[in-house]
C-alpha cells in the first residue's frame, strides 16, 4: 500500500509518502491510523488528532471507516484550502 501525506501531516510525519505491507487485520482507515502511529513518534504525533484529518482512497475522499486493501493508495491530509 502507498500512503501519501500532505501539508502539515507530511511535515510532521517527515516524509511525503511510504510504501507499506498492509497487515491482514488492518481493514479500515481507522485501524490503519493506529498501525501507522506505531511506526515512529513523528507518525504518532501527526496522526493523533483524528478530527483534524481527512482521507482519500484511490483519489476519492472517504470517511475514516472506509475499508482498504493492500493495493490501494491512501492519502492522509488536513482539510483542503484551495481556490
Amino acid at each position: 500500500m502507498k500512503v501519501v501525506y500532505f501539508a502539515w501531516v507530511r511535515e510532521r510525519v517527515g516524509i511525503n509518502y511510504e510504501i507499506i505491507e498492509l497487515p491482514e487485520d488492518i481493514k479500515s482507515i481507522e485501524t490503519l491510523l493506529s498501525f501507522l502511529s506505531l511506526k515512529s513518534p513523528a507518525h504518532k504525533d501527526a496522526l493523533s488528532n483524528r478530527k483534524l484529518l481527512k482521507f482519500s482512497v484511490n483519489f476519492e475522499f472517504v470517511e475514516i471507516t472506509q475499508r482498504i486493501k493492500n493495493d490501494d493508495e491512501v492519502a492522509i491530509f488536513p482539510p483542503v484550502t484551495g481556490g
Binding site: 476519492e60 491530509f77 483542503v80 484551495g82 481556490g83
Partner: protein, 143 residues
C-alpha cells in the same frame, strides 16, 4: 471543459481567446480570478505556498466541471489553479464559464469556485512577517 494545474502564471485574455467564444455562440462569459492578498486575517502576507495532490486534484476539478455542465447550459469552461510559491498580488486561480445566456455563466462560475474550496486537494502555507502556518478552511472559505 479544460483543467490546468500549473506552476506558471496565466493570462486571462490569452485563455479567453483559446476558448474561442465566437465559435460556440457565447454571448456571456464570466471569469473569477483569485489572487494572493497582501493582508490576511490582519497579518501582512509575505508569501503563499500551495501544495496539491496531483492526480486527485485533476480528478476532482474535472468532476466539479462535469457537475456544472449537468446543472447549467454551458458552452465551455476552464479552471486553472496554480501551485508552488506565490507572492502577494500573484494569480492563484482562474475560472471561466461561457454560455449563450449570461445567467448560466454566473451561476456555474460561483458553483465551481465554491466547490473548488471544499473538494479540490490544495493546501496553503501562508508566510507572514514572523511565522509560517497552514491555513485552515475557515480562513480561506470566503476568500
Amino acid at each position: 471543459m479544460v483543467v490546468k494545474i500549473q506552476r506558471e502564471d496565466f493570462n486571462i485574455s490569452d485563455e479567453l481567446e483559446l476558448l474561442n467564444l465566437e465559435k460556440n455562440n457565447s454571448g456571456g462569459c464570466v471569469t473569477f480570478l483569485g489572487k494572493v492578498r497582501s493582508k490576511n486575517n490582519n497579518f501582512i502576507v509575505k508569501s503563499l505556498e500551495i501544495e496539491h495532490y496531483p492526480i486527485m486534484t485533476q480528478k476532482q476539478l474535472e468532476s466539479i466541471e462535469s457537475q456544472a455542465f449537468k446543472k447549467w447550459q454551458l458552452n465551455s469552461s476552464l479552471i486553472i489553479h496554480r501551485y508552488g510559491k506565490l507572492l502577494p498580488g500573484d494569480n492563484i486561480v482562474l475560472v471561466i464559464t461561457t454560455s449563450t445566456y449570461r445567467q448560466s455563466s454566473f451561476k456555474a462560475n460561483e458553483f465551481i469556485v465554491e466547490q473548488l474550496k471544499t473538494r479540490a486537494t490544495f493546501w496553503k502555507l501562508e508566510e507572514t512577517l514572523n511565522k509560517k502556518y497552514w491555513l485552515k478552511p475557515e480562513q480561506t472559505l470566503n476568500n
